[in-house]
């Protein structure tokens, strides 16, 4: 086939990129080679717009065993044990086909984990949808059942996550899935091919025509014709993935496997070229040997197929049978399809012809890297100035409205569809500040939190991102855990627009600063750009998945458990002003507007609050602990009360709406029998702490001075909290 400018454009390559291909090859590429380059050089696979900025992120630390560049990051958790974890997005496919898009998103990240030799023990997901309406709720229901279907069948608990709404996600929902697995340090596997003459073995599901050009789809904006891309979405089979997991882990124990890599985005192409380029070797593949689901597939189709549940591995020559034996036991295809060569070239044969012959470094290392213009002011959708006067409303009504609002209401309808307990490790599951899973065979547990705040980032990408990192670390601190590493998913719009690129750069720099401050290096992650539909970008939404360690024990619960305990506000009341108040859920829900700036963050103070909290937890002083986040103090108190125990609390005089609902960071609510000691530990850490009241049965009361601001039966709060999402789904489905 002749390579025309139209064909180049169809492959989403620029003329400049095409010229570079010609100069790297020393000739024009074949049609198949053009396809290979188009996926490997897509934004999704090459990170061409973000790579130069991702380098700013810290990626080293005393716990880090493997930083970015492998299938997942790895950290030591004490003894011989390590955990591998990463986050991955499946945003574009989830809009086009919610169920399969989300399901295969789970499948993809799980393969990234067990490719490393680690058995997945936890999944968390971060979801964003347009404001509730029939269409958006159908997407939500589809996404949730896709995650549920895949994770439950595979047998990994989905232990936490978050779900928020904003109309900027209506045409571009976000589905970010975090997974974490565990293994011994000497059991880690890498995707680095080596050993000239070693066989390259294909295992798992057969190759079909599904998902061709999925990576390229994920690298373009949506338009009116997006639904025509449905055939680009892959179909997942969690049962096959479960077999693949067991077979891979068993095969790894034979000692016959040299390297292993899953076939994710860009399938066979990226797995072979990445394994080859990491090992500095070539790979020679004969496509005739690839197990195929359909007849008459071309080399182009086989190379670009994103059929799920497939792996590529390099075994020691002469020990193939040991590997085949294991895969036969699990009823899976395992076929030698190629060989490791010394020439560093990815060579693809099909029906006696050489279809592609590309130096591996050209595909991987020589991929374009852009310093896209970002000198514009970050795109800002919201005004700096709020309404001339912020009218105060009845606080009881405001609180009820907030706890029943889409962002803050209970997500039980979602997480009860996930098996959050399988593998019997879940010490704190969904609905907790942080999820906690124990690692059997050790006395260590892993605490995890997944968080993002598009609204803060839209108002100030740098400060918003720092606030998000701080919140993640605060979530861990409430359970008593110490954050040690993180993975990030950067969801942004079109990087070719300088004002979007500026958001991305600001956000990465803010993340770098905060992750350094909280000693949580980024060991890998994902960038999802072009999240735009018809030219309208999503709110800039960096999502952080943070991993912390703690000694295995029942974690500090987030809800009040006992009446008559003192309620301490660790960190103090905080402050706000008319500008910063515009970033709150209160402003969004009660005033219907967003403006101004996110809350002010002092990272030194924030860290001191975490240290104080950990000291309180370590001494066993906390009956409960819950951090203040969206919705501020009043919402946090309500959240502590849903279990049936409320509180009577007094706050200082001042504007009631500000003091109850502002979202100043660095604050944690602790219920305790020994407030004096909690205050003392706060003082030792240089942190303000105030006894604001005591827990009591069945009511939440807040007053300032002699004025009652809030006085509500806890049952009313929890009913509103629990019924909101089912009502939204029910009413919108029957609208």
């Amino acid at each position: 086939m002749k390579i025309t400018p139209e064909l180049i454009k169809k492959h989403q390559l620029t003329q400049g990129e095409f010229d570079k291909i010609v100069s790297l090859l020393g000739r024009e590429p074949s049609y198949t080679e053009l396809g290979v380059f188009s996926v490997m050089w897509s934004e999704h696979c090459s990170y061409k717009s973000s790579r130069i900025h991702l380098r700013k992120l810290p990626n080293e630390g005393k716990y880090v065993v493997q930083g970015p560049g492998e299938n997942a990051g790895v950290i030591g958790i004490g003894g011989d044990w390590v955990v591998a974890f990463k986050i991955e997005s499946h945003n574009h496919p989830s809009y086009i086909e919610p169920f399969q898009g989300a399901a295969t998103g789970v499948g993809g990240i799980l393969r990234d984990i067990f490719t490393m030799g680690a058995r997945p023990i936890a999944v968390l997901d971060s979801l964003r949808f347009g404001e509730p309406n029939p269409k958006n709720m159908r997407i939500l229901a589809g996404v949730v059942s896709g995650i549920s279907h895949y994770g439950n069948c595979f047998g990994v608990p989905t232990v936490g996550g978050e779900c928020k709404f904003d109309d900027s996600y209506a045409g571009n929902p976000l589905v970010n899935v975090f997974a974490l697995g565990v293994c011994k340090k000497d059991e880690i596997f890498y995707a680095k091919a080596s050993g000239i003459g070693n066989p390259v073995i294909y295992v798992g599901a057969k190759t079909g025509r599904d998902g061709i050009h999925g990576a390229s789809m994920a690298s373009a904006e949506f338009d009116e014709k997006s639904m025509e891309k449905r055939p680009n979405v892959q179909v997942g089979d969690p049962f096959m993935e479960k077999l693949l997991l067991e077979a891979c882990i068993e095969a790894m124990q034979t000692g016959a496997i040299v390297a292993i890599q899953d076939m994710g985005a860009a399938g066979l192409t990226s797995s072979s070229c990445e394994m080859g380029s990491r090992g500095g070797v070539g790979i020679d593949i004969d496509l005739d040997k690839v197990p195929q689901r359909e007849k008459g597939m071309t080399a182009y189709e086989m190379l670009l197929s994103e059929s799920q549940e497939r792996m590529l591995l390099v075994a020691e020559k002469g020990r193939e049978e040991e590997v085949f034996h294991v895969f036969r036991k699990w009823g899976l295809d395992a076929v030698t399809i190629g060989v490791v060569t010394e020439d560093g070239i990815l060579r693809i044969r099909h029906q006696g012809r050489i279809e592609a012959e590309i130096p591996n470094p050209a595909l991987a290392d020589e991929a374009p890297k852009y310093d896209r213009p970002h000198n514009a002011a970050p795109y800002r959708k919201f005004p700096m100035e709020g309404p001339a006067e912020i009218v105060e409303v009845d606080c009881n009504a405001a609180l009820l409205k907030l706890v029943g609002s889409p962002d803050l209401c209970s997500k039980r309808w979602i997480w009860e569809q996930y098996d959050y307990q399988v593998r019997t490790n879940t010490l704190a599951g969904p609905g907790s500040d942080a999820a906690v899973v124990r690692v059997k065979g050790t006395d260590t547990s892993i605490a995890m939190s997944l968080d993002g705040n598009g609204r803060y980032c839209a108002l100030d990408p740098r400060e918003g991102t720092k606030l998000m990192v701080a919140e993640c670390c605060r979530n861990l601190a409430t359970t008593g855990a110490v954050p040690v590493a993180a993975t990030n998913n950067l969801n942004f719009g079109n990087p070719e627009r300088p004002e979007i690129m500026a958001q991305l750069v600001e956000s990465i720099e803010g993340m770098a600063e905060a992750c350094r401050h909280f000693e949580s290096p980024i060991t890998g992650g994902n960038v999802s750009l072009y999240n735009e539909t018809l030219g309208e970008a999503i709110l800039p939404t960096p999502v952080l998945g943070i991993v912390g360690l703690m000694k295995t024990a029942a974690p500090v619960p987030s809800a009040f458990r006992e009446e008559g305990l003192s309620v301490v506000l660790l960190g103090g009341f905080g402050t706000t002003d008319a500008t910063r108040f515009g970033s709150t859920e209160y402003a969004k829900v009660l005033l219907g507007q967003t403006w101004g700036l996110p809350p002010a963050l002092d990272m030194d103070y924030e860290l001191s609050v975490h240290n104080a909290m950990r000291a309180v937890a370590a001494e066993g002083l906390a009956g409960s602990a819950h951090d203040l986040g969206d919705g501020g103090l009043a919402v946090a108190l309500a959240e502590c009360s849903y279990g049936g125990i409320g509180a009577a609390v007094a706050i200082p005089d001042g504007r009631a709406d500000f003091s109850l609902f502002h979202e100043g960071p660095s604050r944690i609510l602790v219920s305790t029998k020994v407030p004096e000691r909690v205050l003392e530990l706060a003082r030792e850490n240089g942190v303000e702490a105030v006894v604001i009241g005591a827990t009591m049965k069945a009511r939440l009361q807040i007053q300032n001075g002699m004025r009652s601001l809030i006085d509500i039966p806890v049952a009313d709060l929890s009913n509103t909290f629990e019924s909101a999402l089912p009502n939204l789904i029910h009413t919108t489905n029957h609208a």
Binding site: N152, F239, L243, E416
Partner: protein, 224 residues
């Protein structure tokens, strides 16, 4: 006691059952691969939860044809104790060892939550140490847990004291709130809730222990 935990392709609570018995109860459990024609030296068999064969076609419908199931049937016929949890219950029903069927949950969604069960009978080797009427907090995690049988069968189950557990707040539409049943000979139990998830104080409930302790206590009697 030596318990055999059967591993079908797609079983995913096999390790949890193994851990509950070996670690929480300090018993002795081993895995039995689904294509073993015999069970080896075991005193009780556990069919664990999960998605055997992907639960394609119908939950448990393919697993019943596994070679190991012929051995399980023979073991049960000879009086051996067999407990099927969740997918294991579905397999027992498909294999004809227990009556009835497990249908899609009535609201059509997968549900994972802790539920309260009432122990309906202590007259079984699985519940002899669990007082009749006692309330157990045990989690469920299933998409197809709605127990169904015709009225005659249900009447018979009740008349013969073969309903082992009922839900206090029926989560899935099961007929007569049934959560677990026994066979006529009372040596086969199928239940949708997961007792192996309620054997460790760290997991929030230890109400499942009584079921395994009962098995443990009854093995010597039965194996004579």
């Amino acid at each position: 006691m030596k318990a055999g935990v059967v591993v079908f392709p797609g079983s995913n609570c096999d390790h949890d059952a193994w851990f509950a018995i070996n670690e929480n109860l300090k018993g002795n459990a081993k895995f039995i691969w689904h294509d073993s024609p015999d069970l080896g030296d075991v005193d009780a068999v556990i069919l664990p939860g999960g998605f055997s064969y992907g639960d394609y076609l119908r939950c448990g419908a393919i697993a019943r044809f596994s070679p190991v199931m012929a051995a399980v049937k023979k073991f049960a016929a000879d009086g051996g104790l067999v407990i099927g949890v969740c997918n294991g219950f579905q397999i027992l029903v498909e294999a004809g060892l227990l009556p009835g069927a497990l249908l899609r949950n009535q609201d059509l969604r997968f549900i994972c939550k802790e539920v309260r069960l009432r122990t309906e009978t202590s007259n079984s080797p699985f519940t002899s140490l669990v007082p009749q009427g006692s309330i157990l907090r045990i989690p469920i995690a299933h998409g197809d847990g709605c127990y169904f049988a015709d009225d005659r069968t249900l009447d018979e189950l009740e008349a013969e004291d073969r309903v082992a557990f009922r839900y206090l707040d029926n989560p899935n539409g099961s007929k007569r709130d049934i959560a677990g049943i026994l066979n006529k000979e009372r040596n086969v139990l199928g239940m949708m809730p997961h007792p192996e998830r309620a054997c460790d104080p760290l997991m929030g409930s230890t109400d499942g222990l009584g079921i395994f302790q009962s098995i443990l206590a009854n093995i010597p009697v039965l194996s004579k």
